[in-house]
């Protein structure tokens, strides 16, 4: 069994307000991120995601529990040298050129000059800034985000923490980032992704944790989250009275609702679904498509955070 890239056990973080009231940001959080995977952390604003990431990067101190980064304490600079981080709110000083900025970030992570000079042009090319010749202060939000990604990668880290990496990017840019994440995973990197764009998390992550009010509400693979609901959508060419009658006859007491030309049905089993399809064909009704209804990650997330757990 390989040692995890990130491990958190019973992690807690409690803040004290000026009046002495305790506010719990994290409460008994335990999770494990395996090397070479993309891990998604999702949750509402104030769920404790940023607090967790800060603790994992040595920026914050937990009040309970243990956090391990590549087997070491996140407070250990040697462990952090093997990590790249793209913060959600990044301030790029405007006196930098992209290459100077990357050099400085690399030096802080102990990268030697020769390696950096080889790496930086390729890195800028990789994030789509290879042809850009202007100071950082003239960068658009999307370009700054790309540069942020580049600085996270400048030390060729084993683990990447990305906080809203597609923030400010256009659809094409978002796809570039998704492709980059998948590519990095294939290179053996571990990626810890925090994003509000659930569709993206669903697309690239191997495992997802939903954090709710400082606690782990759910942890599963995207497939487990987006499993079938047991319902099917049957789209027909023309939903006339004959088609509706045939469907009602087969459905019996099962849920079957029409919405224009699409029947949403929750059959008892696959045999009942096939009977329905046979009956419709015999009418005859032309069937255009049959597809299982799957819960999207967004649906699942909303159910979890609103307390209607599926």
């Amino acid at each position: 069994m390989t040692s995890p890239a990130v491990e958190v056990r019973d992690l807690g973080k409690t803040y004290r307000t000026l009046r002495g009231t305790a506010v719990s940001a994290l409460d008994g959080v335990s999770l494990r991120v395996e090397p070479g995977t993309i891990f998604g952390l999702i949750g509402q604003n104030g769920a404790g995601k940023t607090t967790l990431i800060k603790i994992l990067l040595g920026l914050g101190t937990p009040t309970a529990g243990v956090a391990r980064l590549l087997g070491s304490s996140p407070r250990d600079p040697a462990a952090r040298r093997r990590v790249g981080y793209l913060p959600e709110q990044m301030r790029l000083p405007d006196y930098f050129q992209a290459k100077n900025f990357l050099r400085y970030m690399g030096r802080l992570n102990g990268v030697d000059r020769a390696a950096m000079e080889r790496r930086i042009p390729a890195l800028l090319e990789r994030v789509g800034l290879g042809d850009v010749r202007k100071p950082v202060k003239a960068y658009s939000k999307g370009m700054q985000q790309r540069l942020g990604l580049a600085q996270a990668l400048v030390s060729d880290p084993e683990v990447l923490f990305l906080d809203e990496p597609t923030d400010g990017l256009d659809p094409l840019g978002r796809k570039d980032v998704r492709d980059l994440l998948v590519q990095l995973r294939s290179e053996g990197k571990t990626i810890f992704l925090n994003s509000h764009l659930l569709s993206e998390v669903e697309l690239v992550c191997d495992r997802i944790v939903i954090l709710n009010k400082g606690k782990v509400a759910r942890a599963a693979t995207p497939d487990e989250f987006t499993r079938g609901t047991g319902e099917y959508l049957v789209r027909v060419a023309v939903a006339d009275d004959a088609a509706r009658a045939a469907a009602a006859a087969v459905a019996g007491d099962r849920k079957a609702e029409w919405e224009q030309n699409t029947l949403r049905i929750a059959p008892r089993d696959r045999a009942q679904l096939n009977s329905l399809l046979d009956r419709l064909r015999s009418v005859p009704v032309e069937i255009e498509a049959v597809e299982p209804v799957r819960l999207s990650l967004e649906d699942f997330f909303l159910q979890v955070v609103s307390g209607e757990e599926p």
């Binding site: 600079p77 981080y85 913060p87 990044m90 006196y95 992570n109």
Partner: protein, 269 residues
Amino acid sequence: MFATYMNSLRESMSRRVALVLFGVAILVAIAFNAVMHVRTAGDGAKMIFVGMQPPMPPAIGVPSVLESELRATGSLWLLLALFAATPLLTATLEKGWLELTFSKGTARWRIFLGRYLASLTLYSATFVLATLPVALRLWWTTGIGTWRMGMALLIQTFSFAALLAVAALVTLPQKGVALPLIGSVAIWVLSPSLALRQETFYRIFSSHVVRGIVDWAYRILPKCSELEDLCVSYIQRGTIASSWPVWSTGVFTLAVLGTTLWALERKSF
């Protein structure tokens, strides 16, 4: 730490603060050179002329000019450099930049110390630039060594190091430049009154307890005014009458800076 040090110097240039300091330093150097002349009298002896003052022979004139220069620029430079350097320290903890730098594989204290040392370099370099041309010119034209000026600048740097350490400490628990500046300037303003506490505080407070507190405040806090007096007397006589202001200010600086770096390492962001 060296990477941060170099980056801070670059940042100071971009913030224009270093450019302003360098600009003022050049103006100060030009102004002092303009009001000072070394001329050879009829008997072949050289005389130093400063503004409307009567001419002085080099043995008296050289220390006198250097003293005047130090008196005129010492305090000005402390304040100018504090205003220039404090934003460099507070910028370290700005949201969005802190996350980028403190998450890297370099200890926080090294990053912060790099910026502190860069600020100290900025002060020293510009102070030297402001005062060195006159010292060099005097040495070149009179043949009298002006190396004491270098030692005096070093002593004066102790004051700046101590005030900057105060600014660094005040930077930690809050955001913004105002409080660190107020803290360090307040100590600088208080310094002459504490040095002459018998004539100042003792006249106001008769309580032994309060006087005891004032005495301890004097012992602990940096002795900026005494350091400036020490610089002047060193230029005049070439000896340090009492090393107390130097080492006590040095201890204060190390203690405050050490506490700042220790607290920064422990701080949870």
